[in-house]
Symmetry: C2
Subunit: 257 residues, 2 copies
DNA sequence: CAGACTCTCATTGCATGCAATTTCGAAATG
DNA sequence: CATTTCGAAATTGCATGCAATGAGAGTCTG
């Protein structure tokens, strides 16, 4: 996460990081209008850098500018989240395809291969512990990062960073949620099989197949989302869960601004 | 263009608009480090709103933050532009697919149909004038906007806006460039055929076909790019041409940050 | 003569004060 | 009783002043 280019330890960065925490944890609720002065006091920064931070988070999509000035915390309905995941799938599919099309030396696949290897233990363990899951998450994120590297496209990298600014669109947002799920092992086996298949497709320079696989891989997250939406306890483990609009008509698809 | 949410006529908006002009016109050249104080004087705004504007344009991708502070004008090599167009194709493909999958009442296609109809005259005219081209460009942009509407996905809309912040990734960046080209008519006929086909595919709810068509449609722009890169006079008519790095190894593909 | 150190200047980043706009509340009128 | 209009307070947006960090040039030493 934190797609910010450079992390200089200024007041502005401090404000961005701290405010993002507040938003994701729900301490500043969705739909709520954020007031600058109390927030500045709360974050321990002045209004000037806070304002920059607000602008940044608005560009990331967590805040929304009001026409009259000021910002509100954006909220997301299930359809938004599903679309965000779908979008990530599309972008990762493109990354996989480009990786396949542009692969030079097959040795360049080593980092990807290493990430896949690092995830094997969890899948092969009969009764994985929480530590196993966390190691899996790390390796999973490395896998996705290396895949993006292989695509070798700054433009795609930008788009991806933008899409993953929404926390629940991140590759492993729902991995920890499924830790408690009975069908967890099945899902992980499936996911890992897809990891291997993507790697294989890239190595064989099968761009279309790699793309389709990466998309399907993201659909797994969408499936987990559906499961989590039914169980409040499960949903609470998802990173940005506080931003999800609750108790709303789930089928509502008419918010297109 | 100008994907900014609300256009309040403040100093900040003024700075963004004016500075964007300066960047696209090349009056502030690529690679150049922008100094706040003289720029503020030049734009007629204070440093505070200018700073917000700089942040905005950095998020749009036209500027780049330096680790030591400050900003430089970003430049784009041919590979970057090609990737930007490819990316737009991917996103528009997704829009077309979602439009097909989510289409409710076929009557919702009326706006899209109207845009296609508005483009017909130019294609059917044997010797189109500049005015014809401009009307085509308008209708073309309406077509792409309506397509995005049909996808009915705020997330996709965001991603699209981000991708099209780069001026040469816009749907009709290269249309005016090809006005002088001899093969112009051929290309337009092809493009219009694709418009019709996309519409047809959506109506028939053929999502995959709609996606493939939209991607191929974007590839037309990529082809025009290649043509324009050879001819300096042609390139000069492209919107953000000042940002393109010239006299560089065109095959260089190793700038992945 | 080359390299490194220091001093100085410019530029960015931050804080505070002020003005303008908006919003909320209350009162008055239809 | 609802609605509209006017007013006051709060909040955003903007400008300026100051401090801190980084760059560059000049000089001194090895």
């Amino acid at each position: 996460m934190s797609g910010d280019a450079s992390a200089r330890p200024g007041q502005q960065m401090k404000a961005v990081l701290r405010l993002r925490e507040l938003l994701l944890s729900g301490e500043v609720g969705p739909g709520e209008r954020v007031a600058e002065i109390p927030l500045a006091a709360r974050l321990g920064v002045s209004r000037t850098p806070l304002r920059l931070a607000l602008s940044t988070l608005a560009h990331e999509g967590l805040l929304e500018m009001l026409p009259g000035g000021g910002f509100v915390v954006r909220d997301f309905d299930p359809a938004d989240i599903a679309d965000a995941i779908e979008l990530r799938g599309v972008l990762e599919g493109t990354a996989a395809r480009l990786a396949a099309e542009r692969l030079g030396d097959p040795a360049d696949l080593a980092p990807l291969r290493a990430a896949v290897a690092a995830m094997e233990p969890l899948v092969r363990t009969a009764t994985p512990g929480l530590a196993d899951f966390e190691r899996y998450v790390v390796a999973n994120e490395i896998f996705h990062a290396r895949l993006l590297d292989l695509a070798d496209s700054p433009m795609l990298r930008r788009a991806m960073a933008q899409a993953m600014a929404l926390p629940f669109a991140s590759p492993s947002s729902f991995v920890l949620a499924q830790a408690d799920l009975p069908e967890s092992r099945e899902i992980l086996v499936l996911a890992q099989a897809q990891h291997r298949a993507i790697l294989e497709a890239i190595e064989a320079r099968e761009g279309t197949r790699a793309e389709a696989l990466a998309r399907e891989h993201a659909r797994l997250a969408k499936q987990n989302l559906k499961l989590a939406l039914g169980d409040a306890a499960l949903l609470a483990t998802v990173p940005g869960n506080a931003l999800i609009r609750r108790g709303q008509s789930q089928g509502a698809r008419k918010i297109a601004s």
